[in-house]
Symmetry: C2
Subunit: 365 residues, 2 copies
């Protein structure tokens, strides 16, 4: 194999493919990139057995071929090259040579026999959305996935398509986060659970440009993301997700509207008093046009009166300020609306068209 | 005690005083700031028993007083305040109240009885230099102090004043770093060793403005840095520093001039091949107007020809590329000069007026 390419093209592809390279593994092939040159394209493939990535770039290919090479070594050599043009060669014994300017790297590659290539799957349904929108929806929900592997289904996010609506949801048994958007047309019903790790890695390589789109295709056990010159295929998490519709309510006893930044500053400061040893909740007392926010630890206390617009009954409720802060951080609105029933029922934070809904269980006070 | 002040003044002083607050200690007072209000000034003092800091800011003091308060708690409360004005109060039971806008923090302070106030020392000699210059001299030498506590003297830097010259040096038995500047006038001879940790912390709070100065005063066991509204007093390290003049030479067999950025790119890339398990040196072969740079690990190799101007004999020498990279990173010159004797003698990197001198021992090849 022999090709010549631009350093920036090579580096971009390496950075994308690196998202499916694990740290230390017992299988050296999983620490490798599969590098294939053919026609005027070079393709880099990586696979950590849950997420597989394949990404291509244009190159001046003098000789077709394929070689496996340690991903971190290659990334190191290429990123430190100071010249713009890079030449890559491998021979029949899988010795790899990389040239740039007066510099020459030699490394041992491997044959590609054992490499787990991306599975050849028949994907049936495909939806298309903006990369930026997908990224935003993930950012606004992923903080409430569970990190506990003993309930696997909660380490992923629900992706649900119904008619012309896409809904993404995550929950960790104490809180639920839901984002909803309209699609450009109606699709068949889809309901899958995508691993949180996959969504995190995909978000890192997606564009911030709202005009660039991603095609998302589904099969029984896999999801495929296709954008630019990149394909990412991830396993789905098997099992039934919780019925989130059952947790949602449309009525309320108390509705509170509050300035988001003002409220966030107060909540953020109250977190300082939630030490590891005493996990006292913040106590919210909503009365007339003021919300009293109070928290006590063993040696200190804080309180602040935050102005609100209130509809319905006065209410006192205890909540974990970290969970509220997580929600406030991802909402872009100037004011937010909170809905309550009583001090033992969940607090809802949602907007009028319910494009976002957050549910947080209270703490007994 | 009762005072009103600007949040930014309070925060600045807290950030400076925080440099002498240790993490967890067995003495709770060492996790505290001593806060004193008097006339129109508030003074914050911290002391980790090696470095002591005292820094003041203007405030509207309604009642003089003093209280000890946990440094991290105070820093947290104040940094999260959203209003510009802060009110601070403490009463006879050392209960502390901090108000800002509608927010109220209450915390338990302590009496100041056990707090180790800054020592009252008679400093004799004082030199004055620009804060930026001191910061730069430290940055350009501190990387070669030793981290091993078993040879305490090497964890500090030599500060030596002779006539109108200040020389700073550090060494870790494999390399030596020396920086030298002219002072505005002549001073009595001073020769002390300042702990590396002190110099690191001081560098973090010094100004980048070349016009702002710092007064450095010395006593037998302490050094004092005075700048702006801040005083930092550090213990010195006892003992005799190595005789560095004895290690320096003025003649050479081979002199090489090389473009710094070009050389750094090559060296930086060669470090990739120095893995934990096989610590092969980089081998430099200087011949005519080229320096061949080569390194081999168990599975890979790299080589590059770097153009040089050479005076004197051809030479082959092995050096640790990490040590060369450390030096190249802190030199601002476009070209650097290296001086050699033979493959078993140290390599010198220095400029013409010897305002910097770096010495690196070779590795046998």
């Amino acid at each position: 194999m022999k090709f010549k390419c631009k350093k920036s093209d090579f580096t971009n592809s390496i950075n994308i493919a690196m998202k499916a390279i694990l740290g230390k593994t017992t299988m050296p092939t999983l620490e490798c990139f599969l590098i294939e040159a053919k026609a005027d394209q070079v393709k880099i493939t990586s696979n950590d057995m849950q997420l597989g990535i394949s990404t291509s770039f244009e190159a001046d290919v003098a000789e077709d071929g394929v070689v496996l090479m340690n991903a971190k070594n290659l990334a190191g050599y290429v990123s430190k090259m100071s010249e713009d043009e890079i030449e890559f060669e491998s021979d029949s014994s899988n010795t790899v040579l990389i040239f740039s300017g007066m510099r020459r790297h030699e490394d041992k590659g491997m044959a590609d026999d054992d490499f787990p290539r991306l599975p050849d799957i028949n994907f049936s349904d495909t939806i298309t959305i903006s990369q930026f929108t997908l990224k935003e929806m993930v950012r606004q929900t992923i903080f409430s996935i569970s990190s506990k592997e003993n309930n696997k289904i909660l380490t992923g996010e629900l992706f649900e398509v119904q008619g012309d609506e896409l809904r993404i949801a995550s929950l960790d048994l104490i809180r639920v986060s839901i984002r909803k958007i309209k699609l450009d047309k109606s699709y068949d019903k889809i309901k899958v659970v995508i691993p949180g790790k996959t969504l995190n890695e995909i978000s890192k390589v997606m564009s911030n440009d709202a005009d660039e789109t991603v095609d998302i295709s589904f099969s029984k056990n896999h999801v495929k993301f296709e954008f630019g010159n990149t394909v990412m295929i991830s396993r789905l998490i098997e099992g039934n997700f919780f019925n989130i519709d059952q947790m949602l309510k449309n009525n309320y006893e108390t509705k509170v509207v509050v300035n988001k930044n003002r409220f966030y500053s107060c909540i953020d400061s109250s977190i300082l008093l939630m030490t590891e040893t005493d996990k006292n909740p913040v106590i919210f007392t909503m009365q007339d046009d003021e919300m009293k926010v109070e928290i006590k630890s063993s040696h200190s206390s804080m309180n602040e009166d935050v102005p609100i617009q209130k509809e319905g009954k006065d209410l006192k409720i205890g909540l974990n300020p970290k969970y509220i802060a997580d929600v406030l951080r991802v909402i872009d609105d100037e004011d937010i609306s909170m809905f309550f029933f009583n001090s033992n029922s969940p607090c809802f934070i949602k907007n009028e068209d319910e494009s976002y809904i957050y549910l947080i269980l209270p703490i007994n006070i």
